[in-house]
């Protein structure tokens, strides 16, 4: 019985303390309010993990494929990601290295294709795009903020059956990704 009485008193004390405390806090203290607002500055960020090599099918009559990863941040809901090859001659085509490629095709007949995909519902993938000298949009959105979202770049290089590729010859190209 006594225990119940103490319990009820303790509960009452806590409730009273909580209800009265703001009034106590206000006694003798000057308060003023200040509105703090922050306007987000737009941020653009990109990271593209370079692809070391094509993993399969880099031979005549086959299609070589490999995958790269892009991480994008864009606080503007309307954004666009494009890719291009800024090489002066025949952009978009993988070129043989200067050494170790004697007798091999100097460059591949077909341009390198890329498809950039993501799991974002509002990001629109342009599908498979042949890289060339002009910027090609590979992904875009009109209402999708990017916060370090992962995009997968699926590269595919078709090699025609009639192309002569010397063993060990390295073909390469530089893809320039632009986020805006």
């Amino acid at each position: 019985m006594l225990r119940m009485l103490f319990g009820a008193l303790a509960t009452l004390a806590v409730v009273l303390t909580l209800s009265v405390s703001p009034a106590i806090a206000g006694i003798g203290i000057q308060s003023s309010s200040q509105t703090v607002t922050g306007t987000s500055l737009g941020v653009l960020a990109i990271t593209a993990v370079p692809v070391a090599t094509f993993t399969t099918g880099f031979e005549a009559g086959d299609t070589a494929t490999t995958t790269g990863v892009l991480t994008l941040i864009d606080t503007e809901p309307s954004w666009s990601l494009s890719v291009q090859d800024e090489a002066g001659a025949d952009p978009g085509h993988m070129v043989a290295a200067a050494l170790g490629c004697e007798g091999s095709e100097s460059e591949l007949e077909d341009p390198l294709d890329v498809e950039v995909t993501s799991a974002l519902g509002k990001a629109h993938s342009a599908g498979t795009v042949g890289i060339d000298g002009e910027p090609q949009t590979v992904s875009s959105a009109t209402n999708q903020i990017l916060s370090a979202n992962i995009f997968t770049a699926n590269y595919s290089q078709k090699i025609e059956p009639f192309e002569a590729l010397r063993t060990g010859c390295i073909y390469s190209m530089t893809a320039t990704y632009t986020l805006q």
Binding site: A48, V49, A52, T53, D74, S172, T174
Partner: protein, 485 residues
């Protein structure tokens, strides 16, 4: 019991992982980013003026070589900003907006400011749309890698003088297309006719069937630069059944009031527009030494709508069976519109052939969007003499000669028939005249046939045309006169 609970917890945890982390196994290799802030500026000021510095950061583990490049901005129909990179356009951009520093190395985890200075406007202009490209290349050499990557971030600065501007716009049209299987794309074209960048508002797409609205969607607006037509796209995945529809696009743009564009379309299946399926069949190439290569290809359309495609041609010279490094000629074949179910043959000439063998490559995009390449190897023929050319002509046009002969025979036959008909008519007329001489009003002309035996020749004529004649000797005439008496 415990193990069952543990299994259930593991399954639940796996299900709770959001789908975006599906790529997380790949994402773990990404560590940090190359970034800039701010991304866009909308500035009202009078140049020259210094802009607040942009901050460039590198949170990747590798040092980056950064270049800062001011560029003049344009805009593509998709809304993406475009920029020129020729020396002249880059110099023009620098004269409007300069950046300092223009290149530097950014260590891992470091960031630094880039000061921007809006220096002036183009004479008589009140606005300037200038971008700044921040280009990053890892300092570590990417040698030996098949794919080398350069990262670029485009900062957009839309700047204008204070004051009032005319904000006007129009809708250039509403277009319905197949974005993907079962996905329709409604594209509303908006043209900025005003003096300054602006955004259209209240953009909607409504779809009507038999006068009843079956769909209504809003479009997200964004900046349109002056003089630019931007296409706002709505991808529709909600299924519309086959039938005829009318789509209406509506928008407002500044003081232009309510704008409307309309388009009708038919669906042959659920969310399926009629589409073309163009396939390029056999590729034929050949040619004579000293002349161009003759190229011919057959195109068929197995789709449900007319369509056209372009075939890129590259002609290589073959040496020991291997094609030369560079094409000796390039060209493009345009098919023109091919009706559904139709076939078309397209021909072209390419380059200039010398003695030797050649390889012609023809590439085009197939209906699935993939690239198809057709190959035709051929040897340049020696030029033919006149006799050989005639023989070739006869051989290649076997049906031409008999057809010509047949035509000539027919023409002769018709001419003969006409001649015979006219002679028959003349003869019939003469007969009629002879049978009724009194009515024929004959004109009579005496001609002494022979001096020794006087005779009379009577010629019947009407309207100057000789119909027939009679000749009689003097004795016969005397006998006839006696009979009449």
């Amino acid at each position: 019991m415990h193990s069952r609970w543990l299994t259930a917890l593991v399954v639940l945890a796996a299900l709770a992982v959001p789908p975006q982390t599906a790529g997380a196994s790949v994402a773990t290799s990404v560590d940090g980013t190359f970034s800039i802030t701010p991304a866009r500026r909308y500035l009202v000021a009078r140049p020259p003026v210094r802009l607040s510095p942009a901050r460039v950061s590198n949170t990747t583990p590798a040092p980056l070589q950064v270049k800062v490049i001011p560029v003049l901005l344009g805009q593509q129909p998709s809304g993406a900003f475009s920029f020129g990179t020729t020396p002249a356009t880059l110099a023009a951009a620098r004269s409007l907006l300069s950046a300092e520093p223009t290149q530097f190395t950014l260590a891992p985890g470091a960031s630094r400011g880039v000061s921007l200075h809006w220096r002036r406007l183009v004479p008589h202009a009140r606005t300037a749309n200038v971008g700044v490209i921040y280009q990053a290349v890892p300092v570590e050499a990417q040698q030996g890698r098949q794919m080398r990557i350069v990262e670029q971030l485009l900062n957009v600065n839309l700047m204008r003088l204070p004051g009032h501007y005319l904000v006007l716009g129009s809708l250039t049209g509403l277009h319905v297309s197949q974005a993907a299987p079962k996905v329709l794309a409604f594209t509303l074209g908006v043209h900025n006719e005003g003096q300054v960048f602006a955004k259209p508002s209240h953009m909607t797409i409504s779809v009507y069937r038999s006068g009843r609205c079956v769909l209504r969607r809003s479009l997200v607006s964004d900046v349109v630069l002056p003089g630019v037509t931007r296409e706002f796209v709505l991808n529709l995945t909600r299924t519309l059944p086959p039938g005829r529809y009318t789509a209406i696009g509506r928008a407002r743009f500044g003081s232009s009031g309510r704008l409307v564009a309309q388009s009708s379309f038919a669906l042959t299946g659920p969310n399926e527009l009629p589409s073309s399926q163009l396939h390029v069949g056999r590729l034929i190439a050949g040619g004579e030494v000293g002349g161009p290569a003759d190229v011919s290809a057959a195109v068929s359309n197995t789709g449900t709508a007319a369509g056209a495609t372009a075939i890129a041609l590259h002609l290589y010279r073959l040496e020991d069976g291997v094609s030369a490094k560079h094409a000796i000629a390039d060209g493009q074949l345009e098919t023109g519109q091919v009706a559904p179910g139709d076939r078309a043959r397209i021909d072209d000439e390419l380059g200039h052939l010398r003695k030797g063998t050649y390889r012609l490559l023809a590439s085009y995009r197939n209906p699935a969007g993939g690239r198809e390449t057709l190959v035709a190897d051929f040897q340049a023929r020696e030029p033919q003499g006149l006799l050989a050319q005639l023989r070739t002509l006869l051989r290649e046009h076997l049906l031409l000669i008999p057809s010509l002969l047949l035509l000539i025979c027919l023409a002769l036959l018709i001419a003969l028939l006409l001649r015979e008909r006219s002679l028959k008519r003349a003869l019939a007329a003469a007969r009629r005249q002879l049978e009724g001489r009194d009515r024929a009003e004959p004109s009579m002309r005496f001609s002494p046939a022979r001096r020794t035996a006087p005779s009379l020749r009577v010629v019947f004529a009407r309207r100057g045309r000789t119909l027939g004649g009679l000749a009689a000797s003097g004795a016969a005439l005397a006998a006839a006169a006696a009979r009449r008496r």
